[in-house]
Symmetry: C2
Subunit: 209 residues, 2 copies
Amino acid sequence: MRAVLQRVTGATVHVNGKLISRIGPGIVALIGIGTEDTQAEIAPLCTKILATKLWNENQLASHIAVPPQYAAEQQTPANGDAPTPAALAAAPGEGVKFDGDAAAAGEKSRSEEVWGGKPWKRNVMEIQGEILCISQFTLHARLTKGTKPDFHKSMGGAQAKELYDELLAKLRTQYVAERVKDGAFGEMMQCSLTNDGPVTILVDTDIKK
Amino acid sequence: MRAVLQRVTGATVHVNGKLISRIGPGIVALIGIGTEDTQAEIAPLCTKILATKLWNENQLASHIAVPPQYAAEQQTPANGDAPTPAALAAAPGEGVKFDGDAAAAGEKSRSEEVWGGKPWKRNVMEIQGEILCISQFTLHARLTKGTKPDFHKSMGGAQAKELYDELLAKLRTQYVAERVKDGAFGEMMQCSLTNDGPVTILVDTDIKK
């Protein structure tokens, strides 16, 4: 199984113009099931999604400003101290560097300035974030024969849906069911998100090292 | 070099709350440069981005509705026939299936209904779309030793920037310079996009088959 994990401040899924799913700060996980995948891949992938530390040591989902296009209509700020987008925009740090470069240079990173802690310290459960899983059969596309993607390594609909649903169920059991959302398997979706950093991590359960 | 290609209807990049880049329909390409990458990887990756057929045979960027959050303030509809989001929402096709499943079942896919052509037929140049490149050092993260991402396979700042800039220059030369946009290398960015499908393709120049 493959996954693309994106650290987001918010995300939505629409089908035929209708909102079907929404999350605040957390992970959008695009999930691709390959022809050789079995149930054995579910637990390892579940662990990668839940345990990988993508946030700073002091971050909490409730302290992260959700861009307005992902905010629920009835939502009110859960915390009066949460920074607004305007506050973030006005924060100091012009030309500050992202965590990777900053760490290499021994400098304080932008996220350290904003959140006051070291990066790569908390996973999605520790920040009490949400997870939006979206099935994405194109993750196993091969581009080696010409310019048309070849999907022969992607597992077909019904069989893939079974494994996908099991992954979702396991995520809900191991974390908090209400914080694990779903797209619409096999539908034509419009997936909107704001990647924070960006931070995008590729996971492939076939690769052990 | 690694890339995550996302087929989008629109995208923006903000740094410190300020808009620094914007595209309409096209590709958001997250680019990761590894410690072993050289100039030899630039041309093959450039070809994958420009030539991979992610759209239907009749699609054109000017016919694809851009979600309002990505539309330029001064932008007016370029084509009176372009479907609005409301029109798309009202279009027939409840519960229609996405291209992969539909093709397997011999059914007409949602995108065929909307665009009247077969999927995986046009590349970004053929639809006259835009490309937004965003440097993403986390694409080479390894998750094999515990839960903290290990970035030792990611090339460091200055050296990576050189290769990244060369890739961008080559894309601009081989396509149309004004249609190839950039994020802000090494900065803390907020990258917003709407993935259309979704369609997400993983490219790794190390993998030849």
